[in-house]
């Protein structure tokens, strides 16, 4: 019997496609963000509020993943930006090939921002690189402040945690300070924003974060000559 050492990622094929996507985003100066959360924590609502706040000339497109239905794509399409639903038919996560396939009809040279809403799940999407520049984890106050400790993988890999549904704080036993501490115990450098998609509280800070992140991408990519800096 002969033992042959291997140093290869199990998901190397996914990673290869994700690498191609990342290079394509960089070549076109696109900021791609991957939104991950439990089902029902408010990813789609956050994206709705984001699209509502973006200038109409913003060169943004969205992919939204779900196991079944195109409900989210229909919600997001109301704002007039290009949206495609990725229906995974059972898979609990998006992978790079799904993203690649759903981008084929779009001209990347005409985009600055690509927002990817993953399937609602705090575990499985963590394993799959989609070529994004960053992951954003959304945690709502109805879920419990110990989620970062229970699902550390996604909190370690995310650059930003959005604490959503803060309008419900008077009605639920959610310890905001503990949620922050738990997230930082897993990922000391994670940025944290609080907001409510219902009341709009905190949305300005989120839009500032998004603009700053987008401008940083543009300064690394092509010249920012297009309108819609947002």
């Amino acid at each position: 019997m002969n033992r042959i050492p291997l140093e290869r990622k199990v998901l190397s094929e996914n990673d290869r496609i994700a690498g191609d996507l990342r290079r394509a985003y960089q070549a076109n100066g696109i900021l791609c963000l991957n939104f991950i959360s439990s089902p029902g924590s408010g990813k789609t609502s956050l994206l709705e509020r984001t699209l509502e706040a973006l200038p109409a000339e913003t060169r943004v497109a969205l992919l939204t993943g779900d196991i079944q239905t195109d409900n989210d794509a229909r919600r997001l399409a109301r704002f007039g930006f290009p949206v495609r639903q990725v229906t995974t038919a059972g898979a609990c996560h998006l992978d790079a090939r799904m993203v690649e396939q759903h981008l084929q009809e779009w001209d990347l040279a005409k985009l600055d921002l690509l927002l990817v809403e993953n399937v609602g799940n705090l575990v499985c999407p963590t394993s799959y690189d989609l070529g994004e520049a960053g992951k954003i984890v959304v945690l709502s106050v109805t879920e419990g402040e110990d989620k970062p400790l229970k699902y550390p993988g996604i909190f370690r890999k995310s650059e930003l945690m959005i604490l959503n549904k803060t309008d419900l704080l008077p009605y639920v036993p959610f310890d905001m300070a503990a949620a922050r501490d738990n997230a930082r115990s897993i990922h000391p450098g994670i940025e944290i924003l609080e907001l409510s998609c219902q009341t709009g509280a905190g949305l300005e800070a989120w839009m500032r974060w998004l603009r700053a992140r987008r401008n940083a991408t543009r300064s690394l990519g092509r010249s920012p000559t297009e309108p819609g800096a947002g």
Partner: protein, 91 residues
Amino acid sequence: MHELAIASSILDAVRTESARYAGARVHKVGVRIGEYSGVASESLRFCFDALVKDSGLEPLALDIELCRAGDGVRGDELDLSYLEIEEPETA
């Protein structure tokens, strides 16, 4: 749930890697799983055992090494670490 997709990726990788050794039989594949990888080892083993049947690779054993973060280990590893193969005897 995604352990099924990961088990399938392991079998694909075994096929690709073992193709370098013509006629060899793969007995075991080693996989390294970090504590923050988001992969449940028992679910992965269950899915692997289900998929390996009728895959043409049976019997193929899965050896899972769990690793904790620290001392240079990130903790999000999901790697193939080795193949154990039996090469055909040459005349």
